[in-house]
């Protein structure tokens, strides 16, 4: 083999703490290395050309690049060596940036370590073999999980692009958090008026199949061919028959049910349609409150329903859908302020959350858009907004900024003045974060034109005195403690990952961070991809996001799916397991351990039992390779010989006396 080695400086990123020339020099002495050089930016156009030229000039048959993590640029360099006519698997990378120059301070030690890593890569490369990808058919349907604005956008874009879409929504209506909002910043246009038509489009689009009140139970398969098991949770109402007339809601005697859509502001009936614009507009019985379930008798809804849609015996059902790609758009949840006992831990009726305030202001809300405080129904005159409740707070394990609270608080202060002209709004804030088109102007408008009193400091304590809430905070700009006698306190609760997000991630086999937000493939360059091929992200499931960003990501994910499906066949990754039939004794232990059922029991022409790997099913984990005592089944590109070569390079047992 003729190996070429390229040591990247990455500007000063690597060269700052690694002597790249020395590494290249050392590499020249390695077996089979015929060329070694250091280069400023290996990934740049001239850098890649240099590699291609060297392959041609020196007749290289394999290439090692020592630069950043292979998780970043391995595909880049593989394409480069392919352009030069080599098989792209005749390439290895040594990670001397993330694993060397960025973590070690001592240049001498770093250089020595870089030499080791290059040697390991070269030794592995000596055992590499060209691999060829196979092509397989794909199912051009897409599953979108979550019917908030991001999921709606992704669904509509995919459907418009001609794809069949399966949309699964956890609650009984699509619309997500946006459907609950009164107005949106910075335009103060009606949230439901701009979202409503999109929701109707989803309902009417011939390419979209909507499963509301449903959840993804199980995901099997791989890019191009996923099999999804969906649980259709019982509603006790036959939606084929339900016309959404609402007669059941009028007659239901259990009127004190928790109103999920209104976040507990006001109550609803045990059988209900969550809101007038709901899609699908169908009723569901909340068994926790329904008298038929709690007391065993009632059945009023069943009697009044004109289509006979009520069925108390209904149970969960399951459906299976086959798709080729998945978009997770599961959104976020709001921080539970019970974790702040100093703010009453949810016990004071006049200390409410921002989303409850949205519902209070909404014309379709429980107060028909009149702001009335929950304790006594009076119109509040002094309204205090507290920012960063469950954001930027290490003590409740929420150190991150939720990003949108500053903006919605400015909006809510403006709307408060619109609703109650003689009211005063006070906003306790730490910093105002308003990067975005017309965002900061909007905050200034709240301050300058709507006389919102912004107070820089956190609130330490809220307690009731008479019919007021005493809010004790700090004004750090004045260097003083301050107190506000408030009629109503609105907590700007931050975003946290949706309930059940980690469990879904495990089903999808994607990663999530310690707060439950899904990990994108690359924070800058692959913001809607995941590390699992065929699974994409949209919206706040990846991290807190406002509406424009969520919509943008919904479209971006749709574009990714459409471009994936622009081909009729996909290339399979050849880094999969392969059986050496002459070594296989047919014990089928690999069949037992394969997580994907990718190994099949077969017989050769002499009727000897042999294992065979089904290429399109194998995902390349290598569990089988370790299971096999004869090492007959080998994971390509990570064979025993390749890994042993690396181990032996580091721990050369032959360098010893007998």
């Amino acid at each position: 083999m003729r190996i070429g080695v390229f040591i990247c400086h990455c500007g000063s990123n690597i060269a700052g703490t690694v002597d790249c020339a020395k590494v290249a020099d050392a590499a020249k002495a390695f077996p089979d290395v015929v060329h070694a050089e250091d280069t400023m930016y290996a990934c740049s156009e001239p850098g890649q050309q240099g590699i291609i030229d060297a392959i041609h000039e020196k007749n290289l048959t394999g290439v090692v690049v020592a630069s950043c993590t292979p998780r970043m640029h391995e595909p880049t360099f593989r394409r480069a060596v392919e352009r030069a006519g080599l098989n792209k698997y005749m390439f290895e990378m040594a990670n001397i940036r993330e694993h060397v120059s960025w973590i070690g301070k001592d240049k001498e030690l770093n250089t020595n370590k870089a030499i080791d890593l290059v040697m390991m890569a070269a030794e592995k490369l000596r055992h590499n073999a060209p691999l060829m990808a196979k092509k397989f058919d794909i199912n051009k349907r897409v599953l979108i999980i979550g019917g908030g604005v991001a999921g709606i956008q992704a669904a509509l874009d995919c459907a418009e692009g001609g794809l069949e879409v399966v949309l699964v929504e956890k609650t009984t209506s699509i619309g997500g958090k946006m459907a609950k909002l009164d107005k949106t910043f910075p335009t103060v246009d009606c949230s439901c008026c701009i979202l409503g038509p999109k929701m109707v489009d989803v309902a009417q689009h011939p390419n979209i199949t909507l499963y509301a009140h449903a959840e993804v139970e199980e995901v099997n398969g791989y890019i191009g061919n996923f099999e999804i098991r969906i649980k259709q949770k019982t509603t006790y109402v036959d939606w084929e028959k339900c016309t959404g007339c609402g007669l059941c809601m009028e007659k239901c005697p259990s009127k004190k049910s928790y109103d999920h859509f209104n976040n507990g502001v006001g109550t609803t009936t045990a059988i209900n349609i969550p809101f007038p614009q709901a899609i699908p507009k169908k009723a569901k019985i909340d068994a926790e409150y329904c008298r038929m379930f709690t007391k065993g008798k009632c059945g009023v809804c069943a009697k009044v329903c004109p289509t006979g849609a009520i069925s108390f015996e209904m149970t969960d059902t399951e459906v299976t859908e086959n798709v080729g790609a998945i978009v997770a758009a599961t959104g976020y949840d709001l921080f539970d302020h019970a974790k702040y006992p100093e703010y009453g831990a949810g016990k004071y009726p006049d200390v409410i959350t921002s989303i409850q305030y949205e519902r209070l202001m909404s014309a379709s809300g429980p107060t028909s858009g009149h702001i009335k405080r929950p304790s006594d129904g009076k119109e509040p005159k002094n309204v205090v907004f507290i920012q960063c409740v469950g954001s930027r707070d290490k003590s409740v394990n929420r150190p991150y900024c939720s990003g949108f609270c500053c903006m919605y608080t400015a909006k809510q202060a403006i709307l408060t003045k619109d609703h109650i002209p003689d009211s005063r709004s006070f906003v306790f804030y730490m910093d105002i974060r308003s990067p975005g088109k017309d965002y900061d102007e909007f905050v200034r408008r709240s301050i300058e034109q709507y006389d919102t009193q912004y107070i820089r400091g956190r609130v330490s304590l809220i307690y009731p005195q008479g019919d007021k809430m005493i809010v004790r905070g700090a004004d750090t700009l004045a260097g003083a403690q301050v107190e506000v006698e408030a009629d109503l306190v609105v907590l700007a609760v931050g975003a946290e990952s949706a309930a059940g997000a980690p469990q879904l991630a495990e089903k999808l086999r994607i990663s999530y961070d310690s707060y439950g937000f899904y990990m994108e493939s690359h924070p800058k360059l692959k913001p809607v991809e995941t590390n699992t091929a065929g699974v994409f992200l949209a919206g706040a499931c990846q991290g807190p996001k406002d509406i424009p960003s969520s919509v943008g990501q919904g479209s971006a994910a749709a574009a990714k799916v459409l471009s994936l499906f622009s081909k009729d066949q996909l290339e399979s990754d050849p880094q999969i397991a392969l059986v050496n039939a002459s070594r296989c004794i047919g014990c089928y232990k690999c069949v037992e351990t394969c997580p994907f059922g990718a190994v099949k029991e077969e017989q050769d022409r002499f009727n000897n039992p042999k294992a065979r790997v089904i290429e399109t099913i194998c995902q390349g984990c290598g569990v089988c390779t370790v299971t096999c005592p004869q090492s007959a089944i080998q994971l390509q590109h990570f064979t025993d010989n390749q890994i042993l070569a690396e181990v032996k390079a580091l721990c050369p047992s032959m360098m010893v006396k007998n």
Binding site: P341, E342, A345, K347, Y463, P464, Q465, G466
Partner: protein
């Protein structure tokens, strides 16, 4: 089933809070809690010690923990939150080796660690239990409307004190309810009364304790119930000073929770120590049982 536990009365129990001491021991006896006083216990150092030096403060506390340990106890109980805080913090800090060594350097006998301290309140609520308290009640305090004030350090910082909610503690509220009193939630349960500044900075105490009395008055309660000698002294003994400074006319009795328990248990007057209170509690105490009569 009786409980045997090491007991640290604290200096004020032998002086300004003697009624807390008598009612505590009386109530514990009535509930089969055997308080074994630490022999020859010494002052924990209170706030002054830790404001001077943490090693000194912990040394003064640790001496007492060692004495309890030698008696074969792993838990000490004390009525006083200030003592509680010092003993608990000493144990907490001394889990760090370098700190423990520095403290032991000051001591005749080194402290080995591992002795926990609980407030009497915690022992009554957690070890004795509200059911047993309810059983022991002879005269329920029906008709008496109280608010419970816990003081600032009984539950804080939560990672050290490890008892009840640190902003809205309920232990005393539940206990008062168990003996029949009507309990109004006090919004400033853990707000500071001014602590030991009564002597050097009287205005601090009159302002902060004045605030507490003001809020309590707004709730329409007959009395405040406390668990801390310093809080009780600031609110009771200095109520006149507060009235003078704030221009108010408060006359709100300030009980120790153990006094009201003694009352409900029908323990002797000497145990109850009601006469030792500065603000006359008779009017409030007269309400007990009145509610029933009104209905009748």
């Amino acid at each position: 089933m009786s409980i045997r536990i090491s007991y640290y009365p604290g200096c004020s129990g032998k002086g300004t809070s003697s009624e807390y001491e008598t009612s505590t021991t009386g109530v514990c006896q009535a509930l089969d809690v055997d308080l074994v006083e630490i022999p020859d216990w010494s002052c924990c150092g209170s706030t002054p010690a830790h404001t001077v030096n943490h090693v000194l403060s912990s040394a003064l506390s640790a001496r007492n923990l060692t004495l309890a340990e030698q008696e074969g106890f792993d838990t000490v109980t004390t009525p006083c939150p200030s003592c509680l805080s010092n003993l608990k913090i000493a144990e907490h800090k001394m889990r760090k080796e370098s700190f423990r060594e520095a403290v032991n350097e000051l001591l005749d006998q080194p402290y080995g660690g591992g002795v926990d301290t609980k407030s009497v309140l915690q022992v009554l609520v957690e070890n004795v239990g509200l059911d047993k308290v309810r059983e022991r009640v002879k005269t329920p305090l029906e008709g008496l409307k109280v608010a419970c004030y816990y003081g600032c350090i009984m539950n804080r910082p939560p990672e050290v004190m490890d008892f009840d909610d640190h902003e809205h503690p309920m232990a005393m509220d539940n206990l008062m309810e168990a003996i029949g009193a009507e309990v109004i939630p006090f919004p400033l349960k853990v707000e500071c009364c001014g602590a030991s500044f009564g002597i050097p900075q009287q205005n601090i105490v009159t302002t902060l304790s004045g605030k507490l009395l003001e809020v309590a008055k707004g709730l329409g309660v007959d009395a405040l119930v406390t668990a801390c000698p310093l809080c009780q002294m600031n609110l009771d003994l200095r109520q006149g000073q507060i009235n003078a400074a704030q221009g108010t006319q408060h006359s709100l009795p300030i009980f120790y929770f153990t006094q009201l328990m003694a009352k409900a248990f029908d323990l002797s007057d000497a145990v109850q120590g009601m006469k030792r209170l500065i603000v006359n509690p008779q009017k409030a105490l007269a309400k007990i049982g009145q509610a029933d009569k009104e209905i009748a």
